[in-house]
């Protein structure tokens, strides 16, 4: 589904990604772990061109979206993204947060979009909040809203960047449950996370990044229980 070829990304003199080759397959759940500053977020953001790669290809459903001549907007509609800090739209109600993009960009009729929105909200237990403004929501609720907002575009894949690390501990579980639900339904997911237990539980594959490269990858069992790479071993010894 997403194929990355020789992806490099520099910020000025700082080379963050040093040539990454990787393929995300349809229906796969891939976790990305690694120390802070290793380029996890940058990699994830390159997948939907929020960061423009310095070099290399990002082939999404057969099209190299890193190519400047591509209309990136239409492709992004197929790639959902959920951020660490939720980034819900504060000036729109919960329901409007969900319906605005489908109505504007997919020309979905308003009633249809609202019906879809309500269904999705019901699934994550937020239907009673549909006419509230986001400032009334807790962090966990905001993040569930952000997930639902992405889902409303019927994406083929969703990218998560540390979706729980800005949450108070007692709110983490609700959000992880929602993500787990998506994984169970067969959604393609790429998730950067520090929640090792969670990664172990839901992933089909785990990537360990460090120093601008994917140092090691494999099943959760391979990575967490039998890591080979020295850096992986070191990292896991600290966080577990």
């Amino acid at each position: 589904m997403i194929k990355v070829e020789n992806l490099t990304k520099s910020f000025g003199d700082l080379e963050v990604l040093k040539g990454i080759n990787e393929e995300i397959h349809e229906g796969e759940v891939v976790s990305i772990i690694g120390p802070s500053g290793s380029g996890k977020s940058t990699f994830l953001r390159c997948l939907n061109l929020l960061e423009v790669p310095t070099d290399g290809k990002v082939i999404f459903e057969g099209v190299n979206i890193a190519d400047k001549s591509v209309n990136i907007d239409t492709h992004r509609q197929k790639i959902g993204m959920v951020f660490q800090h939720f980034n819900v739209f504060p000036h729109l109600t919960v329901l409007e947060n969900i319906t605005i993009t489908p109505t504007l960009e997919l020309k979905m009729p308003k009633e249809e979009a609202e019906k879809l929105g309500c269904e999705l909200l019901a699934k994550v237990g937020l239907l009673d909040k549909k006419d509230e403004y986001p400032r009334k929501l807790s962090g966990g609720q905001k993040q569930r809203l952000a997930i639902v907002r992405a889902l409303a575009m019927h994406p083929d894949v969703i990218l998560f960047d540390e979706p729980t690390s800005a949450l108070d501990p007692e709110m983490v579980k609700d959000v992880l449950d929602v993500i787990k639900g998506l994984a169970d339904q067969g959604m393609t997911i790429v998730i950067v996370t520090h929640e090792m237990a969670f990664a172990k539980q839901i992933s089909d594959r785990v990537l360990f990044m460090d120093g601008g490269y994917i140092q090691e990858q494999g099943t959760p069992d391979q990575i967490f229980n039998h890591p080979q790479n020295q850096r992986t071993i070191e990292f896991l010894s600290k966080v577990l």
Partner: protein, 480 residues
Amino acid sequence: EDDNTQKGEGDLLQQILDRGELIVGTSPDFPPMEFIDTTKTGQDQYVGCDIELAKYIADSLGVKLTIKAMDFDAVLASVTTKQIDLAITGITKTPAREDSMEMSDSYFDEEGESGWQGILIKEDKKDVYTSLDTLKGKKIAVQAGSLQDLYVSEQLPDAKKQYITQLNDAIELLNNGTVDAVATAYGTGQDFVKQKSGLYIGEELLFTLNKDYTGNRIGIPKGETALLYRVNDIIKDVKDKHLYEEWYQTALNYDKQKIEGNYLQRVAQIFSIYWPKFLTGLAATLGLALITVIGGTLLGTILALVKLSKNKFVKFLSSAYVEIIRGTPLLLQLWLFVTIFAMFGNDQMIVSVITALVINSSAYVAEIIRGGIMSVDKGQWEAAKSLGMSNQHMMVKIIFPQAFKTILPSLGNEFIMMVKETSLASTFYIGELMTANNVVKTATYFSLETLTITAIIYFVATFTLSKLVNYMERRLSVSD
């Protein structure tokens, strides 16, 4: 019995008596001669010593008086074409006028009252400075380039001149002993003496006038000698009874109240007399500031969008525009636009001034709008983009509504800034608050008191506005 029929020459007096009405043309914008009392209406609104003279003439003829107000040129034209019976509006004699109308004897010699130039001194020096000669080598305050400046150079060549810009300042200098005397028009000097105690101006301290002033006269249609003689008779009567001097004094004192007491009392009195002037000034200031900010916002929004765009060239142009405007003083920009507009034949100062203000404001507003847009959390841009929103939808639906919250209070502050900045427009006599200040200052001769009032008005206006802006800011940020 049709009064409008063009009758033969010479019988206008008879016509007046027949119709029982004397029609006098005047240009009511020369106080104290003829001016309008805005508190009255109809014929009553015309006041001044020339009007009194007209009334006296009508009374003497035993007819009713009708005043027709028009501008000075029109008065002269109307008497020539006999649309009015008499032209009484401070007219002096010239050969040209003598050709087109009859001119009465002089009823008032301006020189004797206000045409003279003299020396104002402190009252306690009255016995020291008894003639111009006694002022030899003394320090005299004069307005640079004024008539008095010339007279001092000519008739008091070894006096030391202290140049001043405003006569009021000269009085302060006189009072604290920095100068020994102040050169001024005699009438103005008399006004000062009336307003402030401890001052003196006398005829022994007048400069020698050698100009060929002619007195004020009444204009009468050509050939109406009967009327002319009758008018001259009445003028003689007025002169004999010294009526005009009386009327002149009354007119001078018309609605001019003596301002006295201590500083605070003077402030209160000046405000109670001149509050309409200040109010109009404030309204003009607020209006000017509002027009400026609205114009600035329209222009500034375009600039801000251009600055955020990707086209390097227009981006550079708009950056340069903003930098240049922000890098030069507003006073200079005002002069520049006034000069440029004058070159293209614009003599409406207000247009030049508003253009300069709008352009100045637009550069600041552009930064406000750009700042507001940039202040929207980067996460909002990223969220919108990650959903696949088009740039236009993102700006219109996501970014602008949130930027608004930052922009609106800043525009409020820009408005407050402009309320203050428009004071520079007073350089060009635009009638805003600072101009009103200068007018009242000149009318009352009390600089400090007038400035105090103006300062209070500015402060109250900007303080109230800034409370409003704060309130708005709080209301807008509640929704976060």
